[in-house]
Symmetry: C2
Subunit: 105 residues, 2 copies
């Protein structure tokens, strides 16, 4: 397995989730891992990349907007989003974008 | 200053640059910092976020495709891209995407 997401030829969608954490752990690690596991099972999921230093960045890739909407509405994910807003994130931003072109090696 | 990029109301563009580093340092840190400094001076630059663990992710935000094209063609940046391909990156991917919607706090 490569560390970079093996996405198909564009167009597809990227959800860019950036955040600054609070000091509050409170199950963050477990939930974070569970959300990755759960996202991977969703229809339209194409892969993800994640790193955290001062800022955390998770980019997940999706086939279409419908898949993103369904993932956002997932019941277990909704619970995690609520706890995130309340406890884990000092600030966050979700950006939904359409990948038009890519290159690399 | 907030750690998350303070981008305007969409639409705007995001360049998602993900990479896996080699063990070769060879001026990587200096060039990396210089490229951020230089990007900030480009017309159409809106901000950036960056983090590295196993994978490095830098997302830079731009007003339009023209600004992205000009930044890619910048002479000093071109030199850095060449060295990146040759020495610093085991693998990388650049994804050019149009941010259609965002939310957060």
């Amino acid at each position: 397995m490569t560390l970079l997401a093996n996405t198909p030829k564009p167009p597809y969608y990227a959800v860019i989730f950036t955040s600054v954490r609070t000091a509050d752990d409170n199950g963050y690690g477990e939930t974070s891992n569970r959300m990755i596991e759960l996202a991977e099972q969703q229809p339209g999921y194409l892969g993800a990349e994640s790193a955290r230093e001062d800022v955390g960045i998770t980019v997940s890739y999706w086939a279409d907007l419908e898949s993103i909407k369904n993932w956002k509405a997932n019941t277990e994910h909704q619970e995690a989003q609520k706890t995130g807003r309340k406890l884990w994130y000092e600030s966050f931003k979700v950006r939904i974008s359409k990948v038009e072109r890519d290159y690399g090696f």
